[in-house]
Amino acid sequence: MQVLYFAWVRQKVGVGQEEVSPPPEVTDVAGLMHWLSGRSAGHAAAFANARQVRAAVNQEFCPPDHPLRPGDEVAFFPPVTGG
């Protein structure tokens, strides 16, 4: 599963993207955030306040309970500030 990070989430994690293989009990976006938090201190810092982190699955904005499938592209980032 490809995971991408943007803005301060990327800075805290320390990389812009990584390939991960979460265990079967990780079934949705919120579960993946929780599991990723255990990978490093940087990940833990990025996801410390989960309510400040938004997600996209396969390039569509998704809520935390959105289900995940193998091969999904998942991205984590702060609320957007374009325009």
């Binding site: 943007f6 803005a7 390039q59 980032f77 609320p79 957007v80 374009g82 325009g83």
Partner: protein
């Protein structure tokens, strides 16, 4: 069909506007919005990051929504990324229609949606080396929400 672009370079507003009416006589008005980089608090630059691929999809989706809701003859959205200096343009929205109301409303809809519905992030840089990510505003969410009630 909307024109949607993400680019580092500045845009030519006159050329973009001319393209919306070139070779046709059914366009009665073109509404425009240009977002500029303000130099608040001594800001030295804004750095815009985005999610390549998703950004283009989101912009195309937002533009298609505008075209479905208003009778537009054309629509252009150009959003810059990378390092932008105070006074420089960041974003251009143009909407063309036979009549002004559709063009003006669609333009306001698009710029409200751009604030909340496309994956861009702004980082502020200051002369002393400080940097700060711009935080999303509740007022921007409210501005987008008013189009959902309509």
């Amino acid at each position: 069909m909307a024109v949607v672009r993400v680019q580092e370079s500045p845009f030519d507003m006159a050329a973009e506007q001319a393209a919306l009416s070139a070779g046709r006589t059914d366009v009665g008005g073109i509404a425009s919005f240009v977002g500029l980089c303000r130099g608040d608090d001594g800001l030295s630059a804004l750095v815009l990051e985005h999610y390549p691929g998703m950004t283009e999809r989101a912009l195309a989706g937002i533009a298609a929504e505008a075209e479905a809701r208003w009778p537009l003859t054309g629509c252009t959205v150009v959003h810059r990324v990378g390092r932008i200096l105070p006074g420089e343009p960041i974003v251009l929205v143009l909407t063309a229609s036979a009549h002004r109301a559709a063009a003006l409303e669609a333009c306001a809809f698009l710029i409200d949606w751009l604030k909340t519905g496309a994956p861009f992030w702004k980082r502020e840089e200051f002369p002393d080396g400080r940097e700060r990510w711009v935080e999303a505003k509740d007022s921007d969410d409210a501005a987008t929400a008013r189009w959902q009630q309509a």
